[in-house]
Amino acid sequence: MIKLHIDGQEAEAEEGQTILDAAKGLGIEIPTLCHHRAIPPVGACRVCVVEIRDGGRPGLVPACAYPAQEGLVVETASEAVRESRSMTIQLLLARCPEAEVLRKLAEQWDAPPLTLDAPLDHVEPPKGVPEGAGDRDKCILCGLCVRVCQDIIGPAATAFAGRGIERKVTTPYKLLSDVCIGCGACALVCPTGAIDPAEFCSHSIEKIPNEFNLGFDTRTPIHLPFPQAVPNKPILDRENCIHFRTGGCGACETICPAGAIDLEMEDEIVEEEVGAIIVATGYELLDPSVYEEYGYGRYPDVVTSLEFERLVSASGPTNGELTRPSNGEPPKSIVFLQCIGSREETGPGKPYCSKICCMYTAKHAILYKHKVHDGQAFVFFMDVRAGGKNYEEFVRRVSKEKVATYLRGRVSKIFPHDGKLVVQGADTLSGGQVEIAADMVVLAAAVVPSKGATELAQKLRISYDQHGFLSEAHPKLRPVETNTAGIFLAGACHSAKDIPDSVAQASAAASKALGLVVHDRLTREPTIGIVNELTCNGCFECENVCAYGAISPKDIKDRSGATVAVLANINEGLCQGCGACMVTCRSKSIEVQGYTDNQLFSEINAITR
């Protein structure tokens, strides 16, 4: 630990840390412009100058680049520092009067406008590609953009051209950069907002959609899944990470004050031993883009019900402001389509009822009215299924209080016209065709099992139906158990369910699992396979046919401990007694107890006599 004095206080710093770091440790704020924690400092802007009084060569040094040294006595706001800092800010402000950050610093550090001449017209008029790119009047030439691209990211798309007052940030030959990866690090680190990679990158710039908000806003590769996420810690999306795509960057690792970022981290296989398993893998929505007629995916204002949830959510991308994705305007009319892919006997949909849509559509209508008081809502439905406590009353309120107009029938086509979406459908109650010019269309897409549920079921050796929903052991009497002992189901992985049903089933599954694990021992039928070690020759054909992996090699040792034979051994916990191994065994060295060959041949003898 290095000890030094800053503003009369004792500060500590580690080897390699700067005065700035040490001051930060004391809570002393030193302004910076050309400094970014991820980028090696160069001390270019001189805003961070501090005065060394003792312990080193006296004078002004940049705190960001000057190493913390033993015994230094540093003043961060002495007269000399203030004068220098104020002058630096004034000079930079003379260059970039528009830069907000400089104006603020000027206020803070008492830097009145200099009675200086404005600097040279240092910015050349753009020739095809703007030199300097971005808002060039704000460029203070701190070099962060150039350095981050060169030293951190790697492609070195930009460079300083010229020197002195003529210095500029530019791309080589002022051409669109084909090495620019479009990451936007330059814009991120720029203290004044002077650079925009869209102006010089030869690729189009594309943001990374935020999955939690279903792509209605964006995120960075390392990101917190959502504000209330548990664990409330970030995750690195390697697909989009510069480090994992190009080998460069690693800024987060440098920056993290806790040293928590580990880019070397690899997938790890951990083994957990448990007595019971509850499967609660949930559901997802059918992708409605399979229905061309609804235009989902083509018309931005056609959204799924889940997307609608995010758009009205106070924690959503619009902070609860319901707006049309196409233009940000509030939707004055909205059409909800139910049964998108549900109750469909043919076609890409599912034959079953998704159960929750009638209810949430009614809810959506209410939420819509909360947000757009003068808006008009329509619901196209097949039947309204509101079986549940207070459900029917809820739906009735929606239709009765004219929160939404319910139209029984299906929609045949949606097409854009004059900034609106024209929804064409049938109203079977009035017997006519209806056409609604809507600002937004919400599709209540069918509930389908979440991806990978069937793969998981196979790993668990539990069964699932043709839709991929996991199967219960008995539809009435064992609704949360599976055919495999010790494995239970909860929630929408079993079938479309609303929240109360899911929670109830979860508690049921928990109680079933508890019923198992409260015991420290378990008994089971002895009708399982046993190996006759006298005749087994260790060919392990049986191992191949065992569906339970119950057969494994066993070393037979003599008294000295040397292995004399390797024979099949049956794990009595795993063996289910199916007998497949027994049939396969050429030397007939396995018997299933209770179903031995001897017994069975006797039975055959008995009935064929």
Partner: protein
């Protein structure tokens, strides 16, 4: 020697109507190994069961066949009954003379014959039965919950509340599932996150619950009570124990956008073979130097091509793996480089201090005036390029001008004009 008892159930009329149970009993009694055989109205009733237990005790039966309904129905019942009087339950088997016989056949004779067959079948089997004993296994008293949406969260909390450890596995980096994305919930319209978030936090705080987020089930081994589950804990790149969630990383994440990995055109497309060959030769000169001697290579390229051609520089950049931006920056930094073609005659005017004091500035102004070009510029006919340099190190000759490297000292304005004229006339360098 087996002492077997055979008990034929009438099942009221269910069996007896079609099967002559007494005859079957008689038949059974004669079968080898059978010690006693008798029939009764309801074997599964209490008196019926007592008949069996009494017989077992009285006759010290070693095995029993009950001919009645499907074993899928009452095998556990009768085995339990037998066990109460000390008979190993696996020494008892059932002959299914109801579902497989009396209920599906109408001919009494056929049915009775079949029932005899079935009884015989079981008698022969049971003769070869061995006493079996139930297997006892330890139970791992923990539960795994796969999926941490509201259902998984609830299940995990319930199990934990009962005092058992839970491993909660979630594929996504956060728990919460779809419910965390919902706004308000029907039919009460309470805020989804408001009711869910406390549960999520509880998961984190409950020390009975081990949360494995960003993890997937890889393989499941074992069996009820003893599952071994291999979980792929996907690399999060964040050490959850160390992370304080301060936000520095995501607020400073350099990738603000999706990344385009640049496709590289092949080297040959950036410069013609002739130019490439020349640049190759230059690059080879500096191959041994760690920095590639960028400045030197650029000097050579300028010498070779008169100026720093874009294609040559681009090619060099690829060749020596130095970013073009760096070459460009170097080219624009140093006074000696030109990115545009230079004239056939390069006039350099020294503006070192000595030359300045002796009127070098006026000489430079004169050239500018005569040729209409400024510093670093070239006349439109590509005849002259003017370079103002900061001392050529021959101060005794001040003011000094060099034309194509040749020194012209003690320059005067008149001499300069004369020199330019001479150059223009001859088109060649002129000696003083």
């Amino acid at each position: 020697m087996s002492r077997m008892g055979v008990f034929i159930c009438w099942c009221g009329a269910n069996i007896a109507e079609t099967v002559d149970c007494e005859e079957v009993a008689r038949y059974a009694r004669d079968l080898p190994g059978v010690y006693i055989a008798q029939s009764y109205k309801y074997m599964c009733s209490d008196p019926g069961q007592r008949i069996i237990t009494d017989a077992i005790q009285e006759h010290q039966l070693t095995s029993v066949v009950v001919a009645s309904c499907s074993p899928r129905m009452h095998e556990p019942t009768f085995r339990k009954t037998a066990a109460t009087v000390g008979l190993n339950p696996y020494m008892l088997e059932m002959a299914n003379i109801r579902e497989h016989c009396s209920w599906v056949h109408t001919d009494r004779r056929d049915a009775t014959e079949k029932a005899k067959d079935l009884v015989r079948l079981l008698v022969e089997k049971v003769k070869r039965n061995q006493p079996l004993y139930e297997i006892e296994m330890p139970v791992t008293q923990r539960v795994m919950v796969i999926g941490a949406g509201i259902a998984g969260i609830q299940a995990a909390l319930d199990v934990a509340a009962a005092g058992h450890e839970v491993v909660l596995v979630e594929r996504k980096p956060s728990i919460g599932g779809f419910m965390s994305m919902l706004d308000e919930t029907f039919p009460t319209l309470d805020c989804s996150q408001c009711i869910l978030t406390p549960r999520m936090v509880e998961i984190m705080q409950n020390d009975k619950i081990t949360l494995r987020s960003n993890a997937e089930v890889e393989q499941v081994n074992g069996y009820v009570g003893n599952f071994g589950v291999k979980i792929r804990q996907k690399a999060r790149s964040v050490d959850l124990d160390k992370c304080t969630g301060c936000g520095d990383c995501w607020n400073n994440c350099m990738a603000q956008n999706r990344i385009h990995e640049p496709e590289r055109e092949p080297e040959c497309s950036v410069a013609s073979p002739e130019i490439a060959a020349k640049v190759d030769a230059i690059a080879a000169k500096y191959a041994d130097e760690p920095g590639g001697m960028v400045v030197g290579a650029l000097q050579d390229i300028q010498e070779e091509f008169n100026y720093l051609r874009q294609d040559a520089l681009t090619y060099l950049s690829r060749r020596i793996s130095v970013p073009l931006s760096r070459l460009f920056a170097v080219a624009r930094f140093y006074g000696a480089f030109s990115l545009t073609p230079r004239g056939r005659h390069i006039i350099r005017v020294c503006l070192g201090t000595a030359c300045h004091l002796r009127g070098g500035g006026s000489i430079a102004d004169t050239i500018s005036r005569e040729l209409g070009i400024g510093d670093g510029e070239t006349t439109p006919d590509e005849m002259f390029t003017l370079e103002r340099v900061n001392c050529l190190g021959a101060c005794a000759l001040a003011p000094l001008v060099t034309i194509d490297g040749r020194y012209h000292g003690k320059m005067t304005i008149a001499k300069m004009i004369h020199l330019i004229e001479q150059c223009q006339e001859s088109g060649d360098t002129v000696a003083v």
